[in-house]
């Protein structure tokens, strides 16, 4: 009976998330070496039963696949300040790290949130922070705290405060949606009766480029996230697609067919100053800037089969990058500059793979059969991509070492084209 009740409440929670139309992220495979961490509820946290902080921090960390939560119940009194924490008690429960904190209401309605991260093994304090925030900012504050914990314990930047964009298809209705990285707070920014594809965040995260077929052909738009106003960037004769931002946010590379074939062009973000980059007899498309802006990765069938190439902008030299297999497309340069993620086809299966520049070694990260549209988190550690489940499009996540696997569950009929936003500035 109790189990049934539990199942029911879990279902009710899921249903509640579905009712809000948001993605929920589940871990389906962990890293194997998760850091055990005890997250002690903050002092006074129960005063805000619907808007606590530590629950969100714990969910963030757990979802990354790199942490496991250690139960702190039974440790009394609960510590709220670093100096009150008896780290031996937590160590005995297997915790390597502990967070403690407090929430103190201020007369103006805001709340003084303080927290400390402690190393239970070395018995030291790793970080401490205090924020004065309104209750509406609790979620954002929790993500910030999770970012700090993640960075201190893994050495990589946390990406819990970032946003993602994706496209849903419900019947004949397409929506471009922007949500928090945990799927919360989904907001449609474009609604259309014609297909939308290829959303791309500007480097500062204030604009989205995308392709819409609403005018009977692919046209590239750039839309402001602040106002919702948008501008046509490329609407030339033929098809206009595959927008990719330069790291300075001033220009995009797009694929245009205006001069015959699908070819790469640089264009200013306001649609002016279009310049052809290359002339090839075949298809050149799916550009992605390297993080320093000096080169572009792209896919091309100039060699007979679709493969990935690198164009060095200063010299216009083109170098082939992929040699394994006869079908490699959709390159996305890793933000850490070490390599790129792409889609490879092998035995009729489409899978996400990663290649290192230095070793040229390829690692296949996902099983297929129809995986595509990889988008890399700004810390280069996690990749979100589109997959097919039955006849339904879904999103999934995989760590760049292939060990952590996430499933993103959505109530929408079809979800596709994920794009991971930049770190907030």
């Amino acid at each position: 009976m109790r189990r049934l009740l539990f199942a029911f409440s879990a279902f009710a929670l899921l249903a509640a998330a579905s009712a809000r139309g948001q993605l929920t992220i589940e871990i389906v495979g962990g890293a194997g070496t998760e850091v055990p961490i005890a997250i002690v509820p903050f002092e006074n946290e129960s005063n805000w039963p619907l808007g606590g902080i530590t629950g969100i921090v714990g969910a963030d960390l757990q979802r990354s696949g790199l942490f496991k939560l250690v139960n702190d119940s039974g440790i009394t009194p609960r510590p709220y300040r670093a100096e009150d924490a008896k780290l031996g008690d937590f160590r005995a429960r297997g915790a390597d790290a502990v967070t403690v904190g407090s929430m103190r209401p201020l007369p103006d309605g805001r709340v003084d949130v303080r927290f400390a991260l402690l190393d239970a093994v070395k018995q030291t304090q790793l970080a401490s922070m205090s924020y004065v925030v309104a209750p509406a900012q609790f979620r954002a504050t929790a993500h910030k705290i999770a970012d700090i914990i993640y960075e201190k314990l893994t050495g990589d930047a946390g990406v819990f405060s970032t946003r993602i964009a994706y496209i849903t298809k419900q019947g004949s209705r397409f929506e471009l949606i922007v949500a928090d990285a945990d799927g919360a707070n989904p907001q449609p920014v474009v609604t259309s009766n014609e297909p939308l594809l290829s959303p791309a965040w500007s480097p500062e995260g204030t604009r989205l480029a995308y392709v819409s077929l609403e005018n009977r052909k692919p046209v590239v738009y750039v839309q402001s996230m602040a106002t919702g106003a948008r501008q046509v960037v490329a609407n030339f004769r033929g098809s206009n697609s595959a927008p990719a931002w330069s790291p300075d946010g001033r220009r995009l590379v797009v694929t245009l067919s205006k001069d015959g074939g699908s070819q790469l062009y640089l264009i200013n973000a306001d649609g002016s100053g279009v310049t052809r980059l290359l002339t090839s007899p075949g298809i050149d498309t799916e550009a992605s800037f390297t993080p320093d802006g000096s080169a572009i990765l792209f896919s091309s069938d100039r060699g007979g089969t679709p493969q990935i190439y690198r164009l060095t902008l200063a010299t216009r030299a083109v170098e082939r990058m992929t040699f394994e297999g006869n079908w490699n497309v959709s390159p996305r340069a890793l933000p850490d500059g070490r390599g790129f993620v792409f889609v490879r086809r092998d035995g009729g299966r489409f899978m996400i793979a990663i290649q290192d520049y230095a070793t040229r070694q390829v690692q296949t990260l996902t099983p297929g059969p129809l995986d595509e549209s990889p988008s890399i988190a700004p810390n280069s550690k996690l990749i979100i991509y589109a997959a097919q489940q039955g006849s339904r499009g879904t999103l999934a996540g995989v760590s760049s070492d292939g060990r952590v696997k996430q499933r993103l569950v959505s109530p929408a009929a079809d979800v596709r084209e994920p794009a991971w936003g930049p770190l907030p500035r």
């Binding site: 449609p188 297909p195 692919p218 919702g228 033929g238 098809s239 074939g261 498309t285 489409f350 006849s391």
Partner: protein, 173 residues
Amino acid sequence: MRKWIIVAFVLALVAGCKSAEEKAPVEEGAPTATAPAGTPGTTTSGATTPGVSGTASGPYSPAALKDPNSILSKRSIYFDFDEYAIKDQYRPIIEAHAKYLLQGNTDERGTREYNIALGQRRADAVKKMMVLLGAQEIQIETVSFGKEKPRREGHDETSWAENRRVDIVHAGE
């Protein structure tokens, strides 16, 4: 065989209006500086406010050839007694029938953007043959829907075969 009949039909139309093509309006490709946010069927909003819900149907109707309000439904050019000069009033009809759109499509396998390029290539291949057969380059625009607008939604070879396709339509259709 059926494809050839369609091509022949198009070429007959094209050949019939050579005189109109010189001044036929060419889409010059200059990008519009700003687009109205509210193109029919599409709405946009910022990420900080809840989105606005969508509106009516798409911006065009594939039934234009039979829609009496569409210029494409008019297919006859009338003349004065003993004359062969085309009256000004018929010029828009001839122009409308002298512009074609070749829409390339692909099956669902492969990535979205690569399929946009593949569909484009298919449309370009049809255009190339049309030009070889005497059509004028300027009259034909090739575009691609990639795998975005499948005619058959199935995940089997029958559906895929139907979706690997170029459609020949009037530009105003």
